[in-house]
Symmetry: C2
Subunit: 128 residues, 2 copies
Amino acid sequence: MTTYGQWCPVAMAAEVLTERWTPLIVRELLCDSTRFNDLRRGVPLMSPSLLSKRLETLRRVGVVARVGGEYRLTPAGEELRPIIELMGVWGRRWAMGDVEAKHHDAGLLMWDIHRNIVADRLLAATSR
Amino acid sequence: MTTYGQWCPVAMAAEVLTERWTPLIVRELLCDSTRFNDLRRGVPLMSPSLLSKRLETLRRVGVVARVGGEYRLTPAGEELRPIIELMGVWGRRWAMGDVEAKHHDAGLLMWDIHRNIVADRLLAATSR
DNA sequence: CCGTATCCCACTAGATACTG
DNA sequence: CAGTATCTAGTGGGATACGG
């Protein structure tokens, strides 16, 4: 977790949240996955060693706590919920097929189509 | 921008937002920095070539548009505002000195002290 | 079931210099 | 002012195999 060298709250949050896979792990934890292999099933394309490493990082920064072999969000972790939820709202609106909601701009539409194609290809590999 | 291979809105948003420096660039754009060198001043530790690359990525995914030599957020970009703002709230509460607001847990407090020390060291290098 | 260890390569991003 | 080019070191993370 490299720092940004800025005394800015956004940067602080970014240091925690913008590591690869981390928002998805938090999403799983918010959905009450608590065991290692539960979490794995939520991010099946992530290697177990990396998941382990991320959970350790999250523990170190105080977002996750280990309670009796379970991973649980701390209060600080729980308060990431609105951020993850808003990310979901944004992603659905702007990166997925929620075309009705957005402006019918040609550039955006092209991007949307592109993203759908990519996603379709990947859909074969995963369930969620 | 590698994908997560998940048909999940959180993952879609994460693909855009969790690249290094990106949330800070969006923060600057939300504060009405529009010129390249304005943005640079906001992220002084970032190399210009990387900033250029990030802006191009943001343009490609439809978050930023170039209007007459200026970088401006699209509607999709503008709708990232609540996410960045919440990141700021979280960062201030949990990663900076807003001790009053959090539980007086020893572990968290230690972490807070640690973070402050790190930040103090970095404060010499940057203004913001 | 619950992880850790190891290997290794692609790629990221930092440094620096340079140009219109 | 507004970027682009180049170069390289380091590391993040994917794959795989293994141990508690």
